[in-house]
């Protein structure tokens, strides 16, 4: 039996003592992971199953459980004709444009900060300020800044000679772009810091070699920095898209979805449907659509890894 020499102790014939030790070890395992598992079960898994079941019902929670009525796929069929929902879903997709726009700015700033700036720490704090500040406070400040008649933004524009400055959040055409502008402003700090971390991981000798070969800064960016940051870029893109689909607080405080649903998003519409209109079943169907979208984006990231990770 040559194996008995190399195998660890636990593989030996179990004695009463070792079996007891093993049981104790397993018990400790469940004790340590138990609270988290219980939390996951009670606060995520069970609600998710509940939500799935509710999405096939016509029900309002105020009427009590005995009034639940199953209606198959009716909710989903109805959603496909629900103008407010479709508008909200469409807004979510338009808002996705803010993700690459913000990432582009963050990448340029990250390159500048890592190569030229004197106080990188201070700049990180500055660009992180909107992210760290409470969304409610930030939204309230921008409501005032964007005020159509006496807000400082339009004050500045009319001082520049713009006769009819946009009404920003009060105008259905400009409201969504204004919200997107604020999203970029708020999220810039996160992308910036992740890009800076990515740039610091690029070996310096690549740049040295490129400089010796006479490559310009722009050429270095194109053929070293940018390609080596593709994993970071893809990661930021995917998490940014997920974050975008989950946006709620900013819209709720800033515009309440208005004017004329021009800034409504799926989570906001879901909130209104569930907690204001009290249509629990219908709102659950919206949740399922949101879940499928997030799942698809996550799946894309999973599959995409193979193509974008070039370590």
């Amino acid at each position: 039996m040559k194996t008995s020499v190399t195998l660890p102790q636990s593989r030996e014939k179990p004695t009463a003592g070792s079996r007891k030790r093993k049981r104790l070890e397993a018990g400790m395992g469940y004790l340590f992971t138990g609270p988290m598992l219980l939390g996951v079960l009670v606060f995520t898994l069970i609600p998710m199953i509940f939500s799935f079941v509710l999405s096939f019902t016509k029900w309002s929670f105020v009427t009590g459980f005995d009034k639940i009525r199953f209606n198959g796929f009716d909710n989903f069929r109805q959603l496909m004709q629900d103008e407010v929902f479709l508008k909200s879903l469409g807004n979510n997709f338009i808002m996705l444009l803010a993700v690459p726009a913000g990432m582009g700015i963050a990448l340029i700033l990250a390159v500048i900060i890592t190569s030229h700036v004197y106080a990188p720490g201070a700049f990180k704090v500055i660009y992180f300020m909107p992210q760290i500040s409470s969304v409610v406070a930030v939204a309230v400040v921008w409501q005032v800044l964007f005020h159509p008649s006496y807000g400082p933004v339009n004050g500045f524009l009319s001082a520049l000679g713009v006769d009819h400055p946009p009404k920003w959040l009060a105008d259905p055409t400009y409201a969504l772009p204004s919200v997107m502008l604020l999203m970029i402003w708020i999220d810039l700090g996160v992308s910036l810091i992740i890009y800076i971390a990515g740039i610091k991981n690029i070996p310096a000798d690549l740049y040295e070699a490129a400089t010796i070969d006479g490559a310009s800064k722009l050429a270095q960016f194109r053929s070293i920095t940018f390609p080596l940051l593709t994993p970071t870029t893809f990661f930021l893109l995917v998490t940014g898209i997920i974050g975008n689909f989950k946006s709620f607080a900013l819209v709720k405080v800033l515009t309440d979805g208005g004017p004329a649903h021009s800034t409504s998003v799926v989570v906001y519409d879901m909130y209104q449907t569930a907690f204001v209109d009290l249509q629990t079943g219908y709102a659950s169907s919206m949740v399922m659509i949101l879940f499928v979208i997030v799942l698809a984006i996550t799946g894309l990231q999973w599959l995409g890894q193979r193509y974008w990770v070039n370590y």
Binding site: E25, A26, M28, Y30, L31, F32, P35, M36, L37, L38, G39, V40, F43, T44, I46, M48, F50, S51, F61, G121, K124, V125, Y127, F128, M129, I132, S133, S134, V135, V136, A137, V138, V140, V141, W142, V144, L145, Y150, G155, V190, I193, A197, T239, G243, K246, F248, K252, V253, V267, Y271, A274, F275, T280, A283, S284, V287, L290, F291, V294, L295
Partner: protein, 262 residues
């Protein structure tokens, strides 16, 4: 670059300056960046000790945030230790299960949780908020990497000395991962303090409002008094700024490590 930084900060500078002025000067154009007439003490006094009840909202936020952070750090670090340092049947399957739930957006469980909370009495309590934030999976992921990187020898030598897992976790490994714990704790603190969605759905009584809800209600009620709203905004942001500046290194490390948010 410096100029761009200032432009980026302009809304904050404007907010601070407006919070110190009498109402009539808030919208003067050109903007008085440095207020000519100061009315700071009146503005801040009416926000803090007037009808707005900011002191109560502050206290509620401090309580909810501190307890959520404590619970979350405890539960997450224990799970991280269990999943990396203890062998037990079904460990990997259970970990995959936890990993899978990370894909479920919190927004997707709001409606059923609301119903569950209503029927269990957790609705409209601080306990409900604390439990919800305390059992977030993210901390387990962040901390797991750190526990996994600790050498097995620490545990083996402690076991030879006769220490059990509880002792090893509390007295040997916990101190070793302190930087990681600090990182997660600060992030959890900021997220909980800033959370608007969860309290909005799960709280009803004004006396239980956290600062974010209080701030929103205050802005709605005082729609025309912009100097007061700005004083309230400054008050809502200052604690976060302090935490951020003190824990800057940890926050930035945590964000760039996991690319996390939320």
């Amino acid at each position: 670059m410096a100029l761009l930084g200032i432009v980026f900060l302009l809304p904050f500078i404007w907010m601070l300056s407006a919070s110190l002025k009498p109402e009539a000067d808030v919208f003067k154009y050109p903007i008085e960046w440095i207020p000519q007439t100061l009315r700071a003490s009146f503005n801040y006094h009416s926000v803090w000790f007037g009808k707005a009840n900011f002191t109560l909202y502050y206290w509620n936020s401090i309580k909810v945030t501190a307890l959520t952070t404590l619970l979350s750090v405890g539960v997450s670090s224990m799970a991280a230790y269990g999943f990396t340092k203890i062998r037990f049947p079904g460990r990997n399957a259970l970990f995959v299960l936890v990993l899978a739930t990370y894909m479920i957006p919190a927004e997707a469980t709001l409606v059923p949780l609301f119903i569950i909370f209503r029927s269990t009495g957790l609705y409209d309590t601080h306990l409900g908020l604390i439990l919800l934030g305390g059992f977030s999976v993210l901390g387990t992921f962040l901390l797991r990497q750190f526990f996994a990187s600790l050498s097995k020898e620490y545990i083996e030598s402690a076991q030879i000395d006769g220490a059990g897992h509880l002792r090893i976790f509390t007295f040997i490994l916990f101190p070793l991962v302190r930087p990681a714990i600090a990182t997660y704790a600060i992030l959890r603190f900021i997220w909980t303090w800033n959370d608007f969605q969860t309290p909005l759905v799960f709280l009803n009584s004004k006396t239980l409002y956290t600062l974010q809800l209080g701030m929103n209600a205050f802005a709605d009620r005082n729609g025309a008094f912009y100097s007061l709203i700005m004083a309230a905004s400054v008050s809502a942001i200052v604690p976060l700024l302090i935490v951020f500046i003190l824990g800057q290194k940890q926050v930035i490390e945590g964000i760039s490590l996991g690319g996390v948010k939320g």
